[in-house]
C-alpha cells in the first residue's frame, strides 16, 4: 500500500550515505514495510542499491548479504557435502509469503523484522549463523542470530545500525538436520517450526521458532535421551500467543516434533 506519511526515499550507493534521520528506517525488499500502515514513518533508506554481493561462498563460510533476496538464496546450489542444504527450501516454504514475495523480500529484512514466523531466522538460527551489523559510527559488530532476535519484532540493532550480512560456517551446512513445521492450515503462517542439527562432533541442537516469541535453542553434546530432551522442552516457559495458534497447542506440537527429530537424528526410540 502507499505509505502516506513517507516524504522521502533515499537510495544510497555508498556506506557514508547510510544514515538515518528520526522517522527514517532501512528499506530492504519492502515486502513488509509496504504491507502495513507504518505510523510515524517519514523516510526510507533503500539498502538494495549498495551493491552487496548476494551470496559469497568460501571453504569455511557462506556469507548471505542482508539484501540477498529469498529467491536468490533458494537458488544457491548445494556444494559437496552440504547435507543441510534442503533446509533452505524447507524454510523458505515455511513462510506464508509465496515465491512471488521471495522475488523481492530480502533475507536480512526477514531476520531484522524479527517475527516469530520469520523462517529465515529459523534457518539462520538452526545453522548457528552470525549476524554482521554495521554500526552507526562506521564500524561492524557480530553476534549469533539466535541472540540478535530478542522478542517479537525486537532485535539488538541500535538506532542507526543495519544488518549487513549473515555468516554461516560451511561446517554447519555439512551437518545432519531434521525439520518439522505445522500451521493452523496446510501452508499457513507457521505455528511452530522445530529443527534439529547434529554436527560431526555429535553436538545436537534443537531450534524452536514461530512457537516461541524468539528463537529458542536447546544444545546437547550428543543426541539427548528422550528424558533429557523432554526436560529441556518443559523448561521453555514462554510460548507465543497470536491468531496462528494457542500457546498450549504450540507447546504440545513443538514437544512432539522435538522428540521426532531426536529420533530422526539417531536418538534411541
Amino acid at each position: 500500500m502507499d505509505l502516506i506519511t513517507v516524504q522521502q526515499i533515499r537510495v544510497p550507493a555508498t556506506r557514508d550515505e547510510v544514515t538515518f534521520a528520526p522517522g527514517e528506517r532501512p528499506l530492504g525488499g519492502g515486502t513488509w514495510l509496504f504491507s502495513e500502515p507504518q505510523e510515524g514513518l517519514t523516510g526510507l533508506v533503500d539498502l538494495t542499491a549498495l551493491g552487496w554481493e548476494p551470496l559469497t561462498v568460501t571453504d569455511d563460510l557462506l556469507t548471505v548479504a542482508a539484501t540477498c533476496t529469498i529467491a536468490e538464496l533458494t537458488r544457491l546450489p548445494a556444494h559437496d557435502g552440504w547435507a543441510a542444504h534442503p533446509l533452505i527450501a524447507l524454510c523458505a516454504d515455511s513462510l506464508l509469503a509465496s515465491w512471488k514475495i521471495w522475488n523481492v523480500a530480502t533475507v536480512g529484512g526477514n531476520v531484522a523484522l524479527a517475527l516469530p514466523a520469520g523462517a529465515m531466522t529459523s534457518l539462520m538460527s538452526t545453522l548457528d549463523a552470525t549476524a554482521v551489523i554495521w554500526t552507526a559510527d562506521g564500524g561492524e559488530r557480530r553476534m549469533p542470530v539466535t541472540e540478535f532476535v530478542t522478542d517479537v519484532r525486537v532485535t539488538r540493532l541500535a538506532p542507526g545500525e543495519v544488518l549487513r550480512a549473515l555468516e554461516v560456517r560451511t561446517a554447519a551446512l555439512r551437518s545432519r538436520t531434521a525439520f518439522r513445521r505445522i500451521a493452523l492450515s496446510p501452508l499457513g503462517r507457521s505455528g511452530t517450526l522445530v529443527t534439529g542439527r547434529r554436527g560431526a562432533d555429535g553436538e545436537t541442537v534443537i531450534t524452536i521458532t514461530a512457537g516461541t516469541p524468539r528463537p529458542v535453542q536447546l544444545r546437547f553434546d550428543e543426541v539427548p535421551s528422550e528424558r533429557a530432551l523432554a526436560d529441556a522442552m518443559s523448561r521453555i516457559e514462554e510460548w507465543y500467543d497470536d491468531p496462528h495458534g494457542s500457546p498450549d497447542w504450540r507447546r504440545a506440537v513443538s514437544t512432539l516434533f522435538a522428540e521426532e527429530i531426536r529420533q530422526e537424528l539417531g536418538g534411541a526410540a
Binding site: 502507499d2 509469503a97 512471488k100 514475495i101 523481492v104 505445522i182 493452523l184 497447542w249
Partner: protein, 908 residues
Amino acid sequence: MRFEVNGTPLDVEVEPGQVLRTLLRENEHYEVKKGCDAGDCGACSVLVDGDAVHSCIYPAHRLEGRSVTTVAGLGSPDHPHPLQQAFVAAAGFQCGFCTAGMIVTASTFSDADRDDLPRLLKGNLCRCTGYRSIHDAICGVTNTETAPTGEATGHSVRAPAGMRVATGREEYTLDHTTTGLLHLAVLGSPHPHARIVSIDTSAAEAMPGVELVLTHLDSPATLFSTGRHESRNDDPDDTLVLDPVLRFRGQRVAAVVADSVRTAQLATERIVVEYELLPAVFDPEQARAQGAPLLHADKGMESRIAAPERNTVAEMHGETGDVEAALATSAATVEGTWRTQRVSHASLETHATRGWLDRDGRLVLRTSSQVPYLVRDEICHVFALHPDHVRVFTARVGGGFGGKQELLTEDIVTLAVLRLGRPVQYEFTRTDEFTIAPTRHPMRVTVRAGADAEGRLTALAVDQLMDTGAYGNHGIGVMYHSVHESVSVYRAPNKRVDAQSVYTNNLPSGAFRGYGLGQVIFAIESAMDELARRCGLDPFEFRRRNVITPGEPMVVVDPGEVTDLGYGNSYGLDQCLDLVQDALRTPGGLTPPSGPRWRLGTGVALAMIATMPPRGHFADTTVELLADGDYSIGVGTAEFGNGTTTVHGQLVASALGTTPDRVRIRQSDTDVARYDTGAFGSAGVVVAGKALLAASHKLAAAMRERALRLVDAERHDESLRDEAAGVVPGGVRVGDRLVTAAELVAAGPLIADGSHDGTPRSVAFNVHAFQVAVDEATGEVQILRSIQAADAGTVLNPEQLRGQIEGGTAQAIGTALYEEMMLDGEGRVITDAFRNYRTPKFSDIPVTEVLFADTFDELGPLGAKSMSEAPYNPVAPALANAIRDALGIRPQELPMSRDRLWRMIAAG
C-alpha cells in the same frame, strides 16, 4: 521516472512511498486489481522484468528502466494468451476479481509446475471457486461448450464476459476514469461506545487539497439500516449517516473529502474530537441481561427494535406440543450447545462507491452492490430525493456472499456529492472489510432432541442467541431464517424455538451466505448425528425416518402457519441422501495417511433452503429485438460471480431459438430495468430468470404476429393465411420466407416486458459427506473425500452449478476448519488482514464430487431451483460429524482449528 508497461513507455511522477499498484491504476491500468493492498491476495500480480511480484507492495521508486507486464499485456480478446483462453474454456472464475492475478502468476509456470500448484498458488486467493476450476484452467481442461441453436439451457455455456475478464478488460466498480475525482476518507471511532462532545475540523479543513469535512452536524436526521431488503421495514431504523453516538470501534466519526486518498487520510488525523466514554458490552449473554449498558435506548417504537431496554433487536419464542414431556419419555435424547465464530465474507473486491452528478443534475452512484435498486430507494428515503433523481448501477462486482446486501459506502458518498457537486469516491481497505464491514453472525445454539425406540424424533428444541453487533442490519431476518428451514426439515410432534438477536458494542453482523441457517444447521445436524448414534441407527437411515416428505407441512413451531412455501413438486432430498450414500460405497478419495496417530471417520449432514427470500422478491425485465437479429435484455440483477448473467442469456436464447452470443445483456442499473429487488437469497435465476422467460415468450409471440402480418400483406393469397410462424435466428420464419429482424423492427420497436413477484416458493436440498483423517497428536484434519449432492431442479448450466457448489463448499470448509475473526473482548478486531485470517488457499480445499438430483420444479424457470447459498450449509456439520466419528469426541465449536481439536482430544 520512465518505465514500460506492456511495451508502452510511461513517463510519470512517483509519490514518495508509492507502490506500483496505485501507479499503474493512476495510469488507467485497471486490469491490476486490489484485493488487499497488503501483499496477501495476489490480485495485483504483475511481472517486473519477467518476475512475478505483488504490485501493491512493490516500491515504485525502483521502476526506472524496468518493464512491467500486466494481464492486459499478456493478451487481448482478439489475441488471447493461451492461459486466458484456458481460463475461459475451463470456466476458471466466478466473479473474476482474482483472475488477472491468477493468470499473470500462472503465466510463469512450466509444465512441471502444474504438479506443484498448491505451493505455487499459495499467494493467490480466490473466494469464489474453490480452486478446482482454476486447476483445470491451468492444466488445460475444457469444461464449457458451445450450445446448439435454441438449446442453450442445460449446457455448460461460457460466461459472456469471460474473455474480457481473462484479459483484464472487464470493468469492475472502480475500473473507470472520472475526471476531477475527489476521494473520501473516514475517521473511525477509537472507542467501542462513546458520545462526541465536541469536534474541531478546522486543522483538517485548512490542509491544501481538502474540499470538505463532514461530521454528525452534516448528517441527515433520518434513521435507516445498512441492511437492505425488499421491505425497508424488515430491518430496524437504528443507523445515521453520521451519528454523534459511536457504538463500535471504527464507526464513522467524520469524513474528509480531498483531491487524493493520501491527503484525505492524512487530514482525518488532524480532526480533534472530544469523546465522552460510555460503558460498553461485548458479550450477547451479558448484553441481554439486566443492567447492561444499552446501545439503542434512545430509539422508539418507530425504529422497530423489539426491546431496546434489553438490547434485543428481535426475539422469537414458540412451542408446538410439549417438548419437556416428550423428552422425559423419549428412548434416547441429546442435548448440547454449539458455537459459531465471526466470519468475514472476504469478497476479493472491497466495498466501494463512486458518485457524481450527471448532466441533468441527477445523482449517479456506481457501487459494488448486490442490490442497486434497494440502495437507490433507501438513498432517496434518507436524503429525501425523488427516485427519478437518482441512478444507481454496478459494473461487474468482485464477489458478494451477502456482504453487499448492505449500504455501507453509498450514503456518505451521496452526502459528499450533494454538498460539493463534484465526483467523489470512497473505497474500503481490506482492514475496513475486517473491522467495520458486517460479518456473519456469531451464534450460540443449544439443541435438545429426543427419539423413540424406532429412531423417530419425538421432540426438537432450539435455543439460539446471536450477536448482531452494534447495529441491527439483518439482525431480524437472519434470526427468523436461522431457525426456519433448519428446524422445519425435521418432522417432530413437539418443537420449541427460542431465539434472540442481541446488540453488543462489537462491529455489526449482517447477511452472509446461508442467512443464519448454516449456524443453526451446524448445531441441529450435529445433534441429529448424535441422536442417530444413540438410537443405533446409521445417520442416513436416521434422517430418512425423520425428514419431511412431500405434502407434509413445514413446521417450525406453528403447525397452522400460512405460507407460500411448498414443494414445487420437486422434492429431491431422498435422492440426495441416496446419491451421497451410494457414492460413499464406491471407492474414491485420497489414500489415508499412515501411522498410529491418524484416526479415520465419515460424517454426513443435510440442509434445506427456500428457493427465494420470503415476503416478495420482484423483478421487472425487458427483452427487445434489435435490427441485426440480436436481442437486448434489460435486467436488474448484478453479476458478482453468481453466474446469473450467463443463465439469463441462456434462458432468453433458448426461448427465442437463438444462441447466447446473440443476447446483449444490460443489467444492474436502475436506468435499464424498472425494478429488481436484487441478487440475494439466490434469487437471480428463479425470480429475474423467470421474468426474462416470460418477457421472451411475450416477445416471441409479438414477433410471430408481426411477421404474419407482414407476410399476409405481401401475399394476397388467403389460403396461406395463418401459416405456422417460428422464431429463428435472425427473425421469424413463415413457411419458406424469413422475415428478418430488420423488417420486423422497421414497423416499430419490438420490446416485451416480463415480471415475477417471487411467490410461491419451493425448497431445495443439499447433502454433504466427508471422509477425514485426524491426527490425534496435532489436531490436523485431512479431508480424504468430499461429496455433495444437490437438488437444484433442472440444471441450466452444469459447469456453473458445479462451480457454485464447489465454491460454497470451499467457503464452508474455511468456516469449519480455518477462518476466525478474533476480537480482543473489547470490540477490537485482531485479525484485520488476510495474513491473520485463514481464507482457504488452493492447498486447503479438496476436490468435491458433485452430484445432482433429478427433479423438476414447477415453480422455477424451466424447472430450475436456486443454488448459491445452499451448498454452504451442510458442510460444517458434515465435517464435524466425520471428526466425531474419527475421534469419538464431538467438536462443538467453529472453527474446528487444529489447536481446538488438539485441546479437545487432550482433555479426552
